[in-house]
């Protein structure tokens, strides 16, 4: 900035700079919404990559059953299941459940054996706020299934 301008000029320049900054700030919040398909590295994103390695997950056969609106985020019942024969040669080894907004993305890992007969498990999780929940299933042939579903949370559940 120049030091030789009259105070009036200075003020006008400051105003222009401030206005530009304000515009930038106003525009910024909308950027993440535009970039939703390419999220920046979030903890849950790193966890998903760690589980999958180089594998490309496919959709289908894996379901998350959960209320669309969870009134109490402290305890949200859910069921995860894979349509699998659970035979010695073709079974589900594990289902990972991941939160996209909790302080830690890991929620639970269920590990199955063919002795289970059905690849299905239930529990209750904590959700701090409205978010997407992701499930990844690891199959005995090395393939992965992945699905995600949104859940609205009325009262968040991570305590004080």
């Amino acid at each position: 900035m120049t030091k030789i301008g009259s105070p009036a000029v200075c003020n006008r320049r400051r105003f222009v700079v401030a206005a530009a900054a304000a515009t930038a700030v106003a525009v910024l919040p909308s950027l993440p919404a535009l970039a939703q398909d390419q999220p920046e590295a979030k903890p849950w994103d790193a966890l998903v990559k760690k589980i999958l390695g180089d594998a490309k997950p496919v959709e289908g056969k894996l379901t998350i059953d959960m209320a669309e609106i969870a009134e109490n985020g402290n305890t949200v019942p859910f069921t995860v299941a894979v349509d699998s024969p659970m035979s010695d040669k073709d079974y589900v080894k594990a289902i990972h459940l991941i939160s996209t907004a909790n302080p830690r993305p890991e929620v639970v890992v269920f590990r199955f054996t063919p002795a289970a007969g059905v690849a299905k498990a239930e529990s209750r999780l904590r959700l701090v706020s409205t978010q997407d929940v992701i499930a990844i299933a690891e199959l005995s042939d090395g393939k992965f299934l992945m699905t995600r579903r949104p859940v609205k949370v009325t009262v968040g559940g991570c305590g004080g």
Binding site: N74, T75, V76, P77, M86, L97, S99, N102, P103, R104, E106, V107, V108, V109, F110, R111, F112, T113, A115, A116, G117, V118, K120, A121, E122, S123, R124, L125, R126, G157, C158, G159, G160
Partner: protein, 107 residues
């Protein structure tokens, strides 16, 4: 970590797929909360559960603070014949609770 509860069907047939429901009392302290003095309350959760039938692995779960207090876990089991389940819950620090339950199998 106390009062483990397991619900099995009263009777099961060989080859049938049954649902096993388990519950145990535990605060599942997340490690995220602070006490009245502003100090973080250390994490203390049940971090693992496993179910065996006649010594054979059936199902297990690795749990994180995202699992609710008094963790409920349910899974399924294809009945091979008569036998006994062994359920184990392990807390941070290594304390464990083991519960055995016979499955009533009728032909």
């Amino acid at each position: 970590m106390q009062n483990p509860r397991v619900k099995l069907p009263e009777k099961a047939k060989p080859g049938e797929v049954i649902q096993v429901k388990t519950l145990i009392s535990h605060v599942m302290e997340t490690g995220q909360r602070k006490d009245a003095d502003g100090k973080t309350i250390p994490r203390k959760i049940i971090n693992s559960f496993s179910a065996k039938f006649e010594g054979q692995d059936v199902f297990s779960a690795e749990m994180f603070p995202g699992i609710s207090a008094n963790p409920y876990l349910s899974f399924f089991f294809k009945v091979p014949g008569p036998g006994e389940f062994e359920f184990t819950w392990v807390e941070d620090g290594g304390a464990r609770v083991v519960q055995k339950e016979k499955l009533n199998v009728v032909a």
